[in-house]
Symmetry: C2
Subunit: 458 residues, 2 copies
Amino acid sequence: MSSAAISFCRQHNVRFLDELKNFLRIPSISTLPEHAADCRKAADFIATELRRIGMENVRLIETTGHPLVYADWLHATGKHTALIYGHYDVQPTDPIDEWISPPFEPTERNGNIYARGAVDDKGQVWAQIKSLEALFATGGGLPVNVRCIFEGEEEVGGEGIADYVASKPPELKADFALVSDTELFAPNLPTLCVGLRGMIYTELEVRGAKTDLHSGVYGGAAPNPFFSLAQILAKLKDENGHILIPGFYDGIIPPSPEELKAWASLPFDEEQYRLHEVGSTQLVGEAGYSVLERTWARPTLDVHGMPGGFIGAGAKTVIPAKAMAKVSMRLVPGMTPQKTYELYANYVRKIAPAGVEVETRLIHQGDACLVTVNNPYIQAATHALFEVWGKETVFIRSGGSIPIVGDFDKHLGLPSVMMGFGLPDDNIHAPNEKFHLKNFQLGIESLVRFFEEVANIK
Amino acid sequence: MSSAAISFCRQHNVRFLDELKNFLRIPSISTLPEHAADCRKAADFIATELRRIGMENVRLIETTGHPLVYADWLHATGKHTALIYGHYDVQPTDPIDEWISPPFEPTERNGNIYARGAVDDKGQVWAQIKSLEALFATGGGLPVNVRCIFEGEEEVGGEGIADYVASKPPELKADFALVSDTELFAPNLPTLCVGLRGMIYTELEVRGAKTDLHSGVYGGAAPNPFFSLAQILAKLKDENGHILIPGFYDGIIPPSPEELKAWASLPFDEEQYRLHEVGSTQLVGEAGYSVLERTWARPTLDVHGMPGGFIGAGAKTVIPAKAMAKVSMRLVPGMTPQKTYELYANYVRKIAPAGVEVETRLIHQGDACLVTVNNPYIQAATHALFEVWGKETVFIRSGGSIPIVGDFDKHLGLPSVMMGFGLPDDNIHAPNEKFHLKNFQLGIESLVRFFEEVANIK
């Protein structure tokens, strides 16, 4: 592995990191309306850099939410065309007081860069852009045709890009997509993700009295929406993690015996995982399935927060008029968001306790997806990863959802190469999110070699 | 009824209301640390007025929280001594966007004054003080001996005054207490409250993973604290409102047949109550008990809020490391806060789901209490109320808790006269709290007559 582009990456790694820090300082939290201007600033930041390194037709594409960033370079005659995808938006930072260094002041510690978005996904987007810069700077152009599409709503469901992709615009004509928003299965173990869970994210609202009431005066007569929510939630999943919504599991396509065998040989220690990644007294979930099956190939149901009522310090003796639960479900192949939502909504209506009205709302959805491993882009990726990391690639799934991968398939017919460089303990969506600096560096080099390998595909 | 003091009240009613508005403009929310200075301001406001009208030894008494306000006038030789109690602190204002006029901009509408604290309890404290002013202004002194003790922590458990009362200070030596923090059973129906429920207010915290986790990556393996809370809460009370904590109901003293008979003859229409006070599709609670029994003489369990996780707009796919439920129970005679809390805490520990740790905390407590109706102060009150309202007094209980009433009894041996002038639809602890202006006026007159009646007690 002696390409000039790889040497360029190593010479400029300090600058690359400094630039990433500037990118990370922009608090582009897509779900909070007060950060809308920051999201646009992050989009502009990428667009400016894409122009500087040599990409063409760079522009922001407006959506109903935060803008997309488009760029292309299409002068590699006869070569395949990659559609590079990543997202510049980040998760909120709460609980803010658990961050060791402030989320938008990128800080190096222990060989990592800590910041909100460090690995999800700004660091990986920056690795993609820097791989292109290295190829431009040392090759006078790119070895393959490249289109870039970066979005700013991945953390809130990606409605803007979903609409754009569904419109099948000529700007997205390509042979495959490169998606860098995933992680290595273990440190130093090159990994490609070939399966994702889908999801539905819902709000479940329960309304009782017409106004907040005093719990002394009305306790014993007025319905309590939080208590009703607790009753409903407790009927959605039993104590063994089995989801009780009738029909929920119907039609699920299980992993193949070969895939299950490969998973069983992965370096995974359940006790280490419990202790160091989760940190709970024990793991939970459906009996009869391994942790990897439960998190990659089985549907789940989680509660993310329960807004309403009194949440301040101290005591307020209120029976709130309404309460809400934010409930999401992860879906696996064979399930669809719409059908799952309907089963859920019907069941919730059916089990609603007396005295309250319930309303469900579907806020976001995404299909589950699987990628075949024997396509030439996956093969090119495994070659590139072997050169950079010195090991054979493992194929895994992710329990998370990247709805865009399903959209690229459904609307554009593009297979996705999900090549990402996070680590399992990177604290994505949590305080102290980080990106391992070695992975940032080798990630850039892996992407450089990947594009060089794609140039060899006939 | 032709006392000079009554005439004085009628001449000065506009000024009395203007003064109350100034009192209501002070946002003395005791539970929010950022309003500590406002609480002190409210205490100073009262102290200044007490001095102005002629009370003596007026001073603030420091506590571990917000200060008490003390005053006395003890020159009615041979007469009984009243201990006047009220509180100057108020509840928080959330949900703020449901207020028609801002909570700290007192506004007159439809014969009411709307503001946080209008009736609970600033308006009633002001009625007490104005009754004393009228007696001072027209009698050259008071017809009875009076001590005043006003607190600023009633809405957060009243720890400061509880400690002070428990210390049996000479300043609180009296023959009875007058507590004005209750309401009429119905408009124009003079009412004395002779029973209160006690309470315990707890926090139930559930901890799962060591940090917030991504629900895609970890969903199916990591415990979800909100879901665990839902499971626990659903096991605390069944669908018929029966509380499932073992031993919870043991030792309860039911109301006498006479008391139940009197309640049955009160003007109470359950359907009107459901429609106009609660506004839910139906009422809830224990089968086999009337609404008045359920809210006055049966214990209850309510959830006030569930802090933790993500409560913003939109979607955040987090499995929170911890979640909390604010859970309170109302107690009736025969139950004690300490025993009830122990039963609850033990049961919660026992039913805690696998994978999570639970912790319960007792934040506030108060004893239930009953007052005998055949004491001379209650008799004096019924005489006064008959003169002002033209009707016989009804004796009711309140489902709410006024822990100080139990403390006055336990530590000082004082019976309490709970004479208050709120109305059932005054929205206490809720948006659009109000005080009916007629009740403010007749409340002052009732208190004037009450003190005049007490002067006749041998």
